[in-house]
Subunit: 350 residues, 4 copies
């Protein structure tokens, strides 16, 4: 399959290129970066030095459509909203890593993103690219909208208890910790090493834009009205998200029951590991152990003192939270083994 | 005042020595460390090289009692329970940095710490060394039990809303992030640099031992039955705690009301800063900005989407969470300016 | 090929297991760890969770020899000196990751390591496992002694100029910076996160044990008497070594000449990248870009002000500095593509 | 003394403000930052929240000259060259933290900085603000040009052996490691957290601009022709410089001789600590132990294997490398205790 990447100079773009260069069913035909035209890809993504002589191209739609069967878009939100329909109308399939086609309800865009969606008719058609919830629709999708990284960690952790309706749906707290690569590769004051190192900085304590997609996906699993309380924190790691999810069971729960609920939903999932061990340093999920992998590690604990259930969910924000998940969707669309090209274990320690 | 420190080789002990060396009203007469007898203090606390020729002494009670008016104990929990009464009976005052005299109810020790308290009669007499709640009692105290670091951050953040009874008392989530110095100076697998760096590790997700002191202190401010849901995380910073506290108001709250509640309780407090700014990178508390200071920085935000109030509380675990607070208590006991010796601003960035 | 690993619980052992689990020509039959007998491998190496149900075995020589064609030993120096001959005499090949068979001159062991070698007759037979210098001998070797991590970075950087005799051989300064994983997985004061973070600590400023192997290998390339000045520093990264090598050319050198010297020696090497770029952030080697790969990245610069040539050499200490290089040797011994199983690019950023 | 700071929003400016706010002989009258006019100082330097209500002013020369006795300039190189004479001609004294008045030979500016000095006549008059070498001249100076951070660490380490002429003067290697705050507070690709973390990046491997001031100052101590080989590295710490200086003695040296040479020059210096211990983790200088202090810690080791002497020199780049040293100069100019306001020990660990 001939594949182009639009937005190849960001961190998610770089990871996509890394995966696709070695994917047995894929040939990369274009890597677009408007700000790096004619530059070697390895100058921006230094890990690829020695692996490819690819250069970045300008955004030339006809060049792309004439040489691609599928396009990945990894560009700032608001920009793929306009670009994607132009690609689709030439018969090309699109996997969008941005937010522009994730929400079903067009009214949510002005509310959460501050702009009106130019192609609301496409929102219904787009498939939310979370294989664990939408595998069948992804198989036949023309447009896949990959989830946000925070949303991936949160939805996967909450889907089983939400489906089983075992927790209070309006008292769900998601306290997330995220690495610096999550904010992209453009230097800012917040990402400046002297500022970012040695601190724990809460940001977007309320109103984070991944909330509506979390609620959309989780609401589809239950009849209950639910609301997500979400607060992220910038921690001094480069990669990884840990979502610590505090929930209140609506009845007495035992650990075996919870195990059963998670196993029954995820027992066959290739990229979900249930991590709740009795020994060792790594008894619960830690994003450190997912770095460079497409895993979502999920664990849980019951707090009998406060009648609480804590759920932990760890991913690599650039892999299961972005490019790895996009390749997982591609594999599903291609009808091949879902793990193709994204199954290697991570190095440890890192 | 002649002061001894028992347990001078740990991180909290080192910070105590640093503060007391320059305290105008204090003369350090003994620094006890059983494992470092006759070693220069600066060999263990290298920041003190050039400042003192003090050496560590063995634990010799008569040597201590004959040369001290007050003793700080910074030793493992369970050990000061036995030692403190011996000091008190000689008329010496004690400021204990450990957990052994923090809880009023003796039954909590077997439940949370796994041992029976050998001197339950002293628990009533001991004053919980949080000046913002117990300043008057500290003035006259013979035995001050300084709060745990996690408890300090949590109690100070929650005291105003708890006192005003504006939040649901059984749906209080404290999600804490703590630096590696919080676990002391003894190397362990969990503190091994290759393991600790680049990760976010949840631990003691339920059942952390600082919970009963949080509940004890907060319960004293309200009639409501309250329960704290507490989960800490090891993050790759050396110093600092951020407590992110998710609460659910029991009525509609406006930001000016919340400001007023915090200002009315803390407006005159020398070591509490309300940090809720509209500009800049540091609009809410970040432990990075408290490193090396005795401040507890507190901020808050109202989440109208989920009817939640987020409270952020940041401290340096070794200062306001341990040694700085102990010196603050000392100053109160001495009847001098509470800020004596602990008022310098931190360096930035660090 | 049936392979056993003796010393499977350390960081190098963990990386070996990771590589060998997916190596097409290898079956792992035993992973020995005396301190973790019967424990799941993934409990110690959490990145392998979900990939293998292997458990650690005790050190049982007959079990190993009856099920192995080749054994990797990754155990403390001094211990493989005794163990290796027992394996060899059963006809098993050995790749030793320790120091015990690296030096040809038995007199160097008492001098640098403080013990007398029990099997000096084997030192001649052992092949120093640096493929770039000893590929032909490795092919037929029964015992391969893999280089130390510091030695690998240093020798590879210096071999071309040493062979061409273009630098002063007694004024060679190697200033190394190494990550915390280099000291192994046993917690110590030096590796304690609060101590290691935020510092740059020189150690073994003189007398480091990798010096004699550097000198042995480089001396074999030249007639000149040479001496290596070597000083390492502990820096707060987990993985990687940067060797900054300051040399003084013995004649005027131009950059094209230096390029030619390195290209002529390394132009065909699969795991050496010459990194000297004119653009971008990564114009010279940085260990960050080698994390998780078997590359040695080498760059250089000529200092016309001080008549100096700086050579930079970066590796991942656990891969090209240990396990990756061991697998490279294995591939050579097997007569297969040298890159088998160790060719994947690293993730970036990490 | 009424003091103004021009360039108050950078990291060095922030540290100056911190020191001067609490300096008993100083009143800050203006803090100039063109990009932050009318902003509270604590919004940019968050550690000062609660300590000052100062705001940044525009650069208004008459406002400054009418309210100042002395001005600190902490502005980009090239800009103080023009500004300083305007201040001096009003009778105000100036302490410049930039490079514009450090070099005595005007020809060095075009060569190393790429611009012609507009006021070469002032270069003779300016005093290089390194108290350990120029204390007497600083006392009477009208214009003090504070050394660069790299130069401070290097010159202080090399002055004693250079003065005693015990090392080869053309084979001096300075291999420096520096934290991210050294590059200032403006975000760049190189300072972007995902890029800076976990790496060791050589930069300016040849031709660094601090070389001419190192050579100027060290040449003044000896008759020998000397040349400095200097290469810095960006390491993932925020504060601190470690200069590892590799030298070749021109005769046999013993450790007691070296001790004597350093003691005789620095025995009375308030801000130099000789750190060469036989026990503990901190036997040699580490910048971690100087964070937030005005110390330069110096240690050394003799390498009998390679006839080398290694000298280690550690400072906080923003304190002894910038603002602390500037205050030290101020104290000398004021004729007061040189340690005034800059004598507190650092916190540890940090």
């Amino acid at each position: 399959m001939r594949v182009s990447i639009i937005g190849g100079s960001g961190y998610a773009g770089g990871e996509l290129i890394r995966y696709l260069l070695f994917h047995p069913e894929v040939e990369i035909t274009n890597v677009v970066s408007r700000s790096n035209v004619d530059e070697y890809v390895f100058r921006i993504h230094p890990n690829l030095r020695g692996y490819t002589e690819l250069k970045f191209s300008p955004l030339n739609l006809s060049a792309i459509t004439s040489t691609s069967d599928l396009v990945f878009t990894a560009i700032p939100h608001g920009t793929s909203a306009e670009l994607v329909p132009k690609l689709l109308e030439t018969g090309i399939k699109v996997i969008d890593l941005g937010a522009d086609y994730r929400l079903k309800d067009p009214a949510l865009y002005p509310q959460w993103y501050g702009w009106k969606h130019p192609h609301p008719e496409l929102l219904k058609e787009a498939v939310y690219g979370l294989p664990e919830l939408h595998r069948e629709e992804i198989k036949a999708a023309k447009l896949v909208a990959c989830p946000g990284c925070m949303a991936t960690a949160t939805i996967l952790a909450l889907a089983p208890p939400m489906k089983e309706q075992i927790i209070e749906p309006e008292r769900i707290i998601v306290d997330a910790k995220i690495g610096s690569s999550g904010a992209g590769n453009a230097p800012t004051k917040a990402s400046h090493h002297p500022e970012r190192a040695n601190g724990v900085r809460p940001y977007k304590t309320v109103g984070h834009r991944h909330i509506p997609e979390m609620e959309q996906e989780l609401a589809s699993l239950t009849d209950a009205k639910l609301r997500i309380s979400f607060t992220p924190h910038a921690v001094p790691i480069v990669r990884g998200i840990l979502a610590t999810i505090h929930t209140f069971p609506n009845r007495n729960l035992t650990l075996p029951e919870v195990w059963k609920i998670y196993r029954s939903m995820y027992g066959q999932e290739p990229f979900i590991r249930l991590v709740k061990d009795r020994k060792g340093l790594h008894q619960l999920p830690d994003p450190k152990v997912t770095i460079g992998t497409n895993f979502c590690d999920i664990g849980f604990e019951i707090d009998s003192h406060a009648d609480r259930m804590v759920i932990l969910s760890a991913i690599d924000n650039l892999v299961k939270g972005a490019s790895g998940q996009a390749v997982q969707c591609l594999n599903i669309m291609l009808g091949i083994d879902e793990k193709t090209g994204i199954s290697a274990p991570t190095i440890y320690p890192v």
